[in-house]
Amino acid sequence: MRKLICITIFVTLSLTILASVRHTISGTVSDITNGESLAGSTILVKEIQGVGVSTNAYGYFSLTLPDGKYTLVVSYLGYKTVEIPVVYSENRQYNIKLSPDAQQLSDFEISAKTKNNNIISTQMGAEKLEVKEISKIPVLFGEADILKTLKLTPGIKSVGEGNGGMYVRGGNNSQNLILMDEATVYNADHLLGFFSTFNSDAIKDIQMFKGTASAEYGGRTSSVLDVKMKEGNNQNYHVGGGIGLISSRLSVEGPIVKDKSSFLISGRRTYADLFLKLSPDELINNNQLYFYDLNMKANYIINDKNRLYLSGYFGRDVFKFQDRFGINWGNSTATLRWNHIWNEKLFSNTSVIYSDFDYNIDILQDAGFTLKSIIKNWNFKHEFQYYLNNKNTLSFGLNSIYHTIIPGQLELADSSKIQPLTLQKKYALDNALYFSNEWKPFYNLNISYGLRWSVYHLLGPGDFFTYLNGQVNSTTTYAKGQIVKTYSNIEPRLNIAWILSESNSIKTSYTRNTQHLHLISNSTSTMPTDLWIPSSNNVKPEIGDQLSVGYFRNFKNDRYQLSGEIYYRWMYNQIDLKNGADINANDKIEGELLFGKGRAYGIELLLKKKQGKLTGWIGYTYSRTERLIDGINNNRWYPAKQDIIHDISVVAIYDFNKKWSASASWVFNTGSAVTFPSGKYLINGNIQYYYTERNGYRMPDYHRLDIGATRLLKKTKKFESSLNFSVYNAYGHKNPFSIDFEQDENNPAKTNAVMTYLFTYVPSVTYNFKF
């Protein structure tokens, strides 16, 4: 008996020892047809419930398990799920290739487990969009647009017509961190917001974080929009494009060396101004108005452990009115990245990033001049991912950004009577150290937590002022590189997902973010001439705290996804502008600023159908957002302009058959907050308006239906073409661009409210091709 016990103990012990011998399988997941890596694909272990891993932003994964035989279930939405039998007995590398699932519409093969990622991941307040999905949704001028599509989801708003700004959970437009291949995009609009800077042909995927983004992201308080460009097909050459009424696109991609390296070049140009030429009126036909942009990317797989990526973006808007004045503006970005696999558990990415935004205003009259303004940054990012074990995945890194702002520089024609002028340049260094951990303590509990420590320095040279009642009180001169002001902030992040069952979970998250670049605007719409200023001795960093709780549930074998989220956001050190302040050509702008705080809260409901002939979603948002700024509205709380209380969006895409698909989207929201006069008076012979409160009125309700249809013309292995028809604002509702109070032309003693609206029906046709 004793012997038996001994043997039992021995066997148990040796089993334990055996079991504790662990090995790691690591590798990448990519698309078999074009070699594009698949970020966020899931690798689950069939034999152990709740154990698995997702690929990182570069498609890399690492999974450590006790030795034994397992089956890895690898899946990615829109691809055939594969099951790979593996034996853990030594460290191995697997490069897994998935093939696109042509039959995905009938969704037979995808196992239930893999489609409930929305339930089990800790991520909440996030939207992930597939470019395929976006391309079917109708938009203005038939141009698929990721920002427009995002604004159809709860919590992400645009304010009225003709305003490109994106307002996320009560934040301002400038509080969104918009990244294209890690590079900051300062201005995401083309043509005053009717288009975005993102050419869908060049985009692989989009991730939007309305709530807590992981600690690697920082620098903006409201949201993160992370856009990744395609890498380019490393198997075959392809040319794709589209010809539309006002814009055309062309992209070329292919291998440089098959399986090893590839490139992508994608360009776009609008020619809206060609229509202006048709006008007989010389005031109209002599104008220029267009934009173009270019995305480029190349990557090179050096070996199994090293991979390089180089990507760039360049875009510009040009507007010229007669030969009198012109304005052009644009972003450029460049990103060089190096992926390195140190060992089977440690992955690193090192990036060197440049990005800038500039505008030029040209006054072309005889005493002409050009006003130039630039904001740019150099950014170094070094990040590690350590796959400690199947319960913990650590990320840590450092990030250092050097900002240069040239607020305004006047260049003169010789004959000009104006004095040359250069506003003081501003320099700042924004450093951060961060770490985060994805921790799965139990199969039904996923926790991710992290911390970002940001240390910001405003640097000389230059004169820096203190102000008293808006007047310069003292001036200090700093030498080059001298530290003018330092701010240090700790930013915690926490996400908890409690998985109640395979089809429902409860999540909560908390985040703090700080922001050192502030956008000063004296217009209600977003303008390229809005001014960026850095945190300084007068301007404290903006801080945002957000707490959210959500319930996630899938129905009918994950065909339907329902989510409800509640959030509350606190905003500190918010900035506004005194009445009538000059923002351009003003060295003492900080004396014209007003400071305060904000709060926002809301409920977001979303019902999504991701599979089947009919796909789409219904979203509803109830939200409030208010500001309390010293010196505005008698120092009382007032609604921010983006305080849109009710917001509904419905998106439906229906695939009739292989040839035809149709789509429709309908949006309705109650009006944004606006300041209208409550009286009028006469002063100095002019009528002036009397205001009782800031944003005390509401714009009329906004609603619009867009419809579209796509007809596949030809589809062979070599060539594919389709025609896309769409109608923007199909029932022609007049949504106001602005409402102004003007004196009646016929009866100058009377005042009218005059609504300006831009578009009623806008039909468009686009021919798309690919070979």
């Binding site: 109209i284 009445n579 000059d582 300041t675 009028k680 800031r694 003693a749 409210a753 300006t756 609206y757």
Partner: protein, 274 residues
């Protein structure tokens, strides 16, 4: 340098008519309690003038009720004092030459009307005179050929030259009138960009109805900072379209929201159109 932000806004706005349409709509504005509006001034060598009116609702006609029977006094820092008399409904003037504006003096205004007491103070800054004034009739400001053959020279560019003193902060205001009626009064400048230099301002007036014999008046005032701030903040109170949220201008009055009191220098020129 008189490059203003609104220029860029205007550039964009210039684009909008290419796409946009307009329509008069109904907006139910709040009926607000009528407010007293004060327009008060004292110029060098002139007696004080005060206009008192009230606001009306947006839907009303532009007929602004005068506020009569107010008790208005003005005193200066030399101990002189005058009670203004109501010369016509809502218009109060210093009827005796006992108190006129002098450079460097500070003037205290007190208005009593009903239960309300409104006060304000201002100092007349030192005078900067016009070096020259000329008026150009042009097809397009800044020159250039007509955009189309039917375009007429309906722009009047009033070019005022003056030499800004280097050792002080100066604020200027220009009031343009046509046949004695003020047409443009919110033209204020500081010397931030041209301290100590000779400055040429270009005040642009567009009026296709001006005919031979009409009289254009140009008044240059040196104002104090508070009055400058008032007019500057008024720029976006009616705003170019889509300017940031409009608000009442920053007044220098105590006890009233609307209006201003300006103590300023005065220099006037007149031009007969021929």
């Amino acid at each position: 340098m008189h490059f203003r932000t609104s220029n860029t806004v205007i550039i964009f706005i210039a684009l909008m008519p290419l796409f946009s349409c307009k329509e008069i709509i109904d907006i139910n504005t709040v009926v607000a309690e009528p407010q007293i509006v004060v327009e008060a001034g004292i110029g060098t060598n002139e007696t004080p003038v005060v206009y008192l009116t009230k606001t009306v609702d947006i839907d009303n006609l532009n007929e602004f009720p005068a506020v009569g029977n107010a008790k208005i006094t003005m005193t200066d820092d030399k101990g002189r004092s005058v009670t203004l008399v109501e010369s016509s409904p809502g218009q109060y003037i210093g009827a005796t030459p006992a108190l006129t504006g002098k450079v460097g003096n500070t003037y205290q205004l007190t208005i009593e009307t009903g239960s309300k007491i409104i006060t304000a103070a201002g100092t007349i800054p030192s005078q900067v005179k016009m070096d020259s004034v000329k008026i150009l009739n042009s097809i397009y400001p800044g020159g250039g050929s007509p955009l189309n053959s039917s375009q007429k020279a309906d722009f009047y560019e009033i070019k005022v030259k003056y030499s800004d003193p280097v050792n002080e902060e100066n604020y200027y205001r220009f009031v343009i009138s046509l046949n004695g009626k003020v047409t443009s009064s919110n033209n204020v400048y500081d010397d931030k960009w041209n301290n100590g230099k000779q400055v040429e301002t270009n005040l642009i007036m567009y009026n296709p109805d001006i005919k031979a014999g009409d009289l254009i008046g140009v008044e240059m005032q040196c104002i104090d900072k508070a009055v400058f701030e008032y007019f500057k903040s008024m720029r976006n109170s009616n705003g170019p379209r889509n300017a940031s949220s409009p608000a009442n201008p920053y007044t220098n009055l105590n006890g009233s929201l609307l209006g201003f009191f300006s103590a300023h220098t005065v220099e006037r020129r007149e031009f007969r159109i021929n």
